[in-house]
């Protein structure tokens, strides 16, 4: 059926056609590929997005025009392809406002909760790893006067912090079997509130409302923020205290004394605490 193929050739009938031309387009595509990979190295987000998606559109145009010969097809071919694209746009703009909304009635943000639990278990895994590797915890644990050594537990794996895989206790810098509020904060609170308590943990971006920032004076300026309030939020969770439902309750994980120690530690993050 070679003659039919020749017909097709005649149908195209223009000069931008032939191996040399195709190789030129191919080289242009490779240059664009290199630019799109190089873009992120500048570490400027706007440029990354432009080199990534702007170039993708240019590459798509080159492939469609010169390799697929879209420009020499009957007009209605382009019309129905554009119609398909329009349906894609209709779908996107019809659904996105709902998907991008992070709260609603009769609805629980399961995704944000999953993110919190993923980050918590990731931290627990990390703590376990550090311990079995006979290394000190990766966080720099500084015993705090009146807080860190104030509460003794029944072993280093008793309350969900530096747990050893074989159940034995590693001698930590601050002493084995000691509840270290800072370490507990980093492992348990850090995934959302950030290791330094600035509300910038790994899961924070996913959470709406955002986790509290304990280094922000505005947080401490709230009237309801008292020692008792903090203790109550840690023990019973956010929902029970008029805060975000994404703040889980830790009353079962920690003893009352430990929660007191955690609250005291959190208060030490208040930038105005010394005053």
């Amino acid at each position: 059926m070679a003659e039919h193929a020749h017909d097709a050739h005649d149908e195209h009938g223009h000069d931008d056609h032939g191996p040399r031309h195709y190789i030129k387009i191919y080289i242009a595509l490779l240059v664009l590929l290199v630019i799109s990979v190089a873009g992120p190295f500048l570490e400027i987000q706007v440029i990354t997005l432009m080199t990534a998606f702007g170039i993708a559109v240019v590459k798509a145009f080159l492939v469609a025009k010169y390799f697929m010969h879209l420009d020499v097809q009957p007009k209605y071919v382009i019309y129905f392809l554009v119609t398909a694209l329009a349906f894609m746009g209709l779908f996107f703009f019809g659904v996105a406002p709902d998907v991008l909304h992070h709260e609603g009635q009769n609805w629980v943000n399961v995704d944000a909760r999953d993110e919190v639990s993923r980050q918590l278990s990731a931290q627990a895994h990390l703590a376990q790893f550090d311990c079995s590797a006979e290394e000190h915890p990766h966080v720099d644990v500084e015993p705090m006067e009146g807080v860190a050594n104030a509460f003794h537990t029944h072993g280093c794996n008793a309350d969900g912090y530096w747990e050893c895989e074989d159940g034995s206790c590693e001698q930590l810098e601050a002493g084995a079997g000691v509840f270290i509020a800072q370490a507990a904060f980093v492992t348990t609170c850090g995934p959302c509130h950030g290791e330094g308590g600035a509300g910038d943990g790994a899961a924070a971006a996913a959470l709406d409302p955002h986790p509290a920032n304990f280094t922000d004076p505005a947080f401490w300026a709230q009237e309801r923020v008292t020692h008792e309030h903090i203790v109550s939020v840690i023990a019973d969770g956010g929902a029970a205290n008029g805060r975000s439902a994404l703040m889980a309750a830790f009353g079962e994980q920690f003893t009352e004394e430990q929660i007191e120690a955690l609250a005291t530690y959190i208060e030490s993050l208040n930038p105005n605490a010394a005053q």
Binding site: M1, A2, H4, A5, H6, A8, H9, H17, G18, P19, Y22, I23, Y26, L29, L30, L33, S36, V37, G39, P40, T48, L49, T51, A52, F53, I55, A56, K59, A60, V63, A64, Y66, F67, M68, Q73, P74, V77, F80, L81, T83, A84, L85, F87, M88, F91, F92, V95, A96, V99, L100, H102, D111, D114, E115, R118, A202, A203, A204, A205, A206
Partner: protein, 189 residues
């Protein structure tokens, strides 16, 4: 006149080619819906940037290079078919298939590394989209390779050379989808 009217024209275009364009219109809706969903979730979940940082840009870039190269050989096959050189067209189609094979091998190595590092389809939303989008794309590569081998077999015997262009158009579209998947999954971090 052949009973299967793929080479007849009644609408200013070979019926076979018109059919391929309609197929691609339906593919636009399939991949468009998938990528549209991914984009809206990606915008809604800034933490996905962390997950995306685990994808390997170099592997993605290499596979982009492979697909672009295979597109070149596909269009060269089309050119050879237009010149009535069936055997040459068949060789170019085989090269294109080879590109598809390299793409799939790299992809399977990449996935093996990721899965053994704990990034599975059920790990979270990002990895769910990652495997579904790249998986549906890879299945298009596999189907394209199968059809291309069949077309190459005919072309080798100087038969049905018009099909070389048709399978080429489909292959370029698969390349085109990857052109968008690459920045979405590998570059925007």
């Amino acid at each position: 006149m052949k009973p299967v009217a793929t080479t007849r024209t009644s609408a200013g275009i070979q019926t076979g080619r018109l059919a391929v364009w309609w197929l691609l219109a339906s593919e636009i809706v399939i991949f468009g819906g998938l990528l549209g969903s991914y984009i809206m979730h990606r915008i809604g979940h800034p933490e996905w940037a962390d997950y995306a940082s685990h994808t390997n840009t170099w592997i993605g870039a290499f596979n982009t290079f492979v697909l672009l190269s295979s597109s070149l050989s596909a269009v060269l096959a089309h050119y050879a078919a237009e010149q009535g050189q069936g055997k040459k067209a068949a060789r170019y189609l085989l090269m294109t298939c080879g590109g598809g094979l390299v793409f799939l091998i790299v992809k399977s190595i990449e996935w093996t590394i990721e899965i053994t590092h704990g990034f599975k389809i059920t790990t979270n939303g990002f990895w769910g989209f990652y495997y579904v989008a790249a998986g549906i794309h890879a299945s298009h590569v596999i189907v394209g390779m199968g059809v291309m081998l069949w077309v190459a077999w005919y072309a080798w015997n100087d038969r049905e050379l018009q099909r070389v262009e048709l399978v080429g158009i489909y292959w370029h579209f698969v390349d085109l989808v990857w052109i968008f998947l690459f920045p979405l999954l590998y570059i925007a971090k």
